[in-house]
């Protein structure tokens, strides 16, 4: 093959590869992007119905309820303005504790009752750490509350 044809082939291959890769990435992306919502967003009905997403906040103190001997567990995730009840069946992470930050992945089963069924629950990794999404959404709620108090 002459250098010219080889270069053409190289370019064609790259273009094909990039085009194929982009198509693939875009379609895989659409299906696998998970949005993060705070309990306030969920309560405000900002989450499109039937979509898998992540919700995060603090596990409300005293809200963890479990049937004795069963894996079914229910707890409330709060951003101190609004609550979402999370249902989960399975082993909770080591660092799951009341009063600590948590992120749950799953979907809403009934948008009115704010019951969220989680496929996965993630907890923080050390004492100081709070998931950044949770920290920010808590900060926002806090500021909103301060602002509303100031205006009244």
């Amino acid at each position: 093959m002459t250098p010219r044809r080889r270069r053409m082939m190289f370019v064609a291959l790259i273009v094909l590869g990039v085009a194929g890769a982009t198509t693939l990435a875009l379609s895989a992306f659409r299906d696998n992007v998970l949005y993060f919502y705070s309990p306030s967003d969920v309560t405000a009905g900002k989450v499109p119905a039937g979509r898998t997403f992540r919700v995060g906040g603090m596990v409300d103190k005293g809200s963890v309820m479990r049937e004795p001997g069963s894996l079914e567990v229910k707890f409330i995730v709060t951003d101190f303005a609004h609550d979402v009840t999370v249902k989960y069946s399975g082993v909770l992470p080591d660092l799951f504790r009341e009063g600590q930050g948590v992120i749950a992945r799953g979907r809403l089963v009934d948008p009115q009752g704010h019951v969220f069924v989680a496929d996965e629950v993630l907890a923080k990794h050390d004492e100081k750490y709070m998931p950044p999404e949770v920290a920010e959404s808590l900060k926002k709620t806090h500021e909103a509350q301060r602002a509303s108090r100031a205006s009244t």
Binding site: Y35, G69, L71, V91, L92, L95, P131
Partner: protein, 651 residues
């Protein structure tokens, strides 16, 4: 030795790194060659002082010097001595010092093993390494000083993160860093070639062993990380497409592409500018990886720092390193044309496809890893990209790669006639398909389309990598280390693919609740919880369960999973009970108490899971064999070498 001496040694190391880059780069200019004699002493001096700095920190850890902030934050008087050493790289500051130490080791190795190369060229290579070294030393001194004092001193330390108190994880960072940082060497060679404006097959022969050794360490490092995550962190998963894992995997993919493209550059003098670009990419991705993991952009168990000034520094460093080298590339790359041709069916074409597919996979992973960060930085919402994205965009380029690989290994340079191996390859693909259907049916009782494709790919790669060594051996020919290394590495890949396919298709996982005396079945296995009791470890307390595992009525093993509470950090930790086997693992992890004596458990059956790490180790072994090839050690007489270089410059 007090840590102030270590701090001082680090400052001296920084100065010597600057000297090294000045001597190296200025010394390579016309009329300044008298400066070159200063390069190697500067490398040696820098090495000595970095070792001293590291040693002083190590001593502070061994002597429990809790007046050092870093020691107080990451160690404890109860911590076993081995982990007091591993704790050096248990957090941000120390792991950067380790990074620098590894770079100093690579630099001194380059200085030692390049005596037979042209002096000016080596001077440039060491100069570039000096720049990288100076950048990192400055980073440590300016933003992440591990030698800072804590006054008044702490009574005791806050302890090493319990997750990191594990033998595999203790050696995981040094391995990974040796690989990461090792890509600085091909990077420096590439930048030196760009500065020099010439590149010939001899250059590729110089770079290949360095690249392969770095790749080898990276392979082992990633495998260790995966193994650790499997038994310690992940509740039995071995790869999560976590951004931090991606950060180490992208340089690996680029490095793998580089190894293959270097082969073409060495043997045929082709793909020169592409090879240079890949060398830049591989190291850039290593730097991006460091940035991702260390700047706190990613919050995961690996991300210790969350200080924006560090992030800004690394970002600036990245811009200078990557931007600088890419600009240099843009300016000089057209000098590296080549005129040789090759047929459509030839080893060159196969390796070209290999590169396109590997780079496509790496780019798609990069997009998925960085996209959420960009969105977040632009305040467009917080998203995360789920593992299925990565699995999809990785599998789609990799499957054709595997099938092409089985054939491509046997293609000749220039123009390949595959007639001689055609029959063998066809027989093997038939055998692979048959095995892919029969073995899972017999062992696991079912087959699926994906499992057959994956199994066939793995099996075919494995078998076809044996053709060359076996036929040469039977014909009584000598087998060069290069060919053997290539075959072994590809065999390892086949083993890995088999393991990954089978574990994905046939693993069984179940979360359930067990009370003492209760038993449950999973596949052919029966698990019986005998009791739970308290045990006391050196620096933790634990609740330990006794689970008897039997298969078809016969007792296989007794497992003792634990739920540990480390005394200092008081976080609970799961220590899984694993019964390893060559063909399957049985995995029991304790969840939490459910009341009335019941505990939640995660039980898993993992067929062929060991093949994943064994495959990776075989790949690394292949790299090691390849590096021992004689031609890398052949001493080219200086004059003949120069003549060869001159002869190929115009080409």
């Amino acid at each position: 030795m007090s840590v102030e001496l270590g701090h001082f040694a680090l400052i001296l190391a920084f100065c010597l790194a600057v000297a090294q880059s000045v001597f190296g780069l200025v010394g390579a200019m016309p009329g300044k060659s008298y400066l070159q004699s200063g390069v190697r002493p500067a490398v040696a001096g820098q090495f000595v002082f970095v070792v001293l700095a590291f040693a002083s920190l190590a001593l502070a850890f061994q002597h429990n010097d809790f007046s050092v902030l870093y020691v107080a934050s990451n160690s404890n008087s109860q911590l076993p001595a081995f982990y007091r050493f591993a704790a050096i790289w248990g957090a941000h500051e120390g792991s950067l010092l380790l990074w620098l130490l590894v770079l100093a080791c690579w630099s001194i190795a380059v200085a030692a093993f390049t005596k037979n190369m042209p002096a000016t060229f080596v001077s440039r290579v060491l100069g570039v390494l000096g720049l990288v070294s100076a950048g990192f030393a400055l980073f440590i001194l300016a933003t992440s000083n591990p030698f800072a004092r804590l006054l008044p001193a702490a009574l005791d330390g806050r302890d090493l993160n319990p997750l990191l108190q594990d033998p595999a994880l203790a050696i995981h960072p040094p391995m990974l860093y040796t690989g990461y940082v090792g890509f600085a060497v091909p990077f420096a060679f590439a930048v030196a070639a760009l500065l020099e404006g010439k590149l010939d097959p001899v250059w590729a022969r110089w770079v290949r062993p360095w690249t392969t050794v770095a790749w080898m360490f990276l392979t082992v490092g990633i495998a260790l990380g995966s193994w650790w995550a499997y038994y310690e962190l992940g509740w039995g998963g071995w790869w999560f497409w976590d951004p931090v894992e991606n950060a180490s995997f992208m340089p690996w993919l680029a490095g793998t592409a580089l190894i293959h493209s270097l082969a073409v550059t060495e043997k045929r003098g082709l793909f020169k500018s592409w090879t240079l670009l890949l060398a830049i990419f591989a190291f850039s991705l290593s730097l991006v990886g460091t940035f991702l993991v260390r700047s706190g952009v990613l919050v995961s168990v690996h991300a210790f720092a969350s200080d924006p000034s560090r992030g800004m520094f690394i970002l600036a460093f990245l811009v200078i390193c990557i931007g600088g080298s890419l600009s240099l590339y843009a300016w000089r790359a057209q000098r590296f044309g080549s005129t040789a041709g090759f047929a459509v069916v030839s080893r060159e074409s196969f390796l070209l496809l290999n590169n396109v597919l590997l780079v496509a996979a790496a780019s798609l992973i990069l997009v998925g890893t960085l996209y959420p960060l960009f969105l977040d930085a632009l305040h467009l919402g917080k998203i995360s990209v789920g593992p299925p994205y990565f699995a999809t965009v990785f599998m789609i380029p990799m499957l054709p790669l595997l099938f092409l690989l089985a054939v491509g290994m046997h293609a000749a340079w220039k123009r390949a006639k595959l007639e001689s191996v055609k029959t063998k390859l066809l027989v093997m693909v038939g055998a692979s398909i048959a095995l892919a259907i029969i073995v899972p049916l017999v062992s696991y009782g079912s087959v699926s389309v994906l499992s057959v494709i994956g199994f066939t790919a793995g099996m075919w790669v494995l078998l076809s990598s044996l053709i060359e060594p076996v036929s040469r051996w039977r014909a009584g020919h000598k087998l060069s280390a290069s060919v053997l290394g290539m075959s072994v590495a590809h065999l390892g890949l086949g083993v890995f693919v088999l393991g990954a396919t089978v574990v994905k298709a046939y693993e069984i996982e179940k979360d359930l609740s067990l009370t003492p005396g209760q038993s449950v079945t999973l596949g052919n296995y029966e698990f019986k919880l005998n009791d739970t009791r308290n045990v006391v470890g050196p620096n933790y307390d634990a609740i330990e369960a006794t689970v008897v595992v039997s298969r078809l009525g016969r007792e296989v093993t007794v497992l003792h999973p634990q739920k540990r509470t480390y005394r200092v950090q008081t976080n609970p930790m799961t220590e899984a009970g694993i019964d390893p086997g060559w063909n399957r693992d049985v995995f029991v992890a304790m969840g939490e108490p459910l009341g009335q004596g019941a505990w939640s458990f995660r039980l898993q059956y993992k067929p062929l899971v060991r093949f994943i790490w064994i495959g990776a180790v075989i790949m690394a072994l292949g790299g090691f064999i390849g590096v021992t090839d004689r031609r890398y050690r052949a001493r080219v007489p200086r004059s003949a070498d120069e003549a060869a270089r001159e002869a190929t410059v115009g080409a």
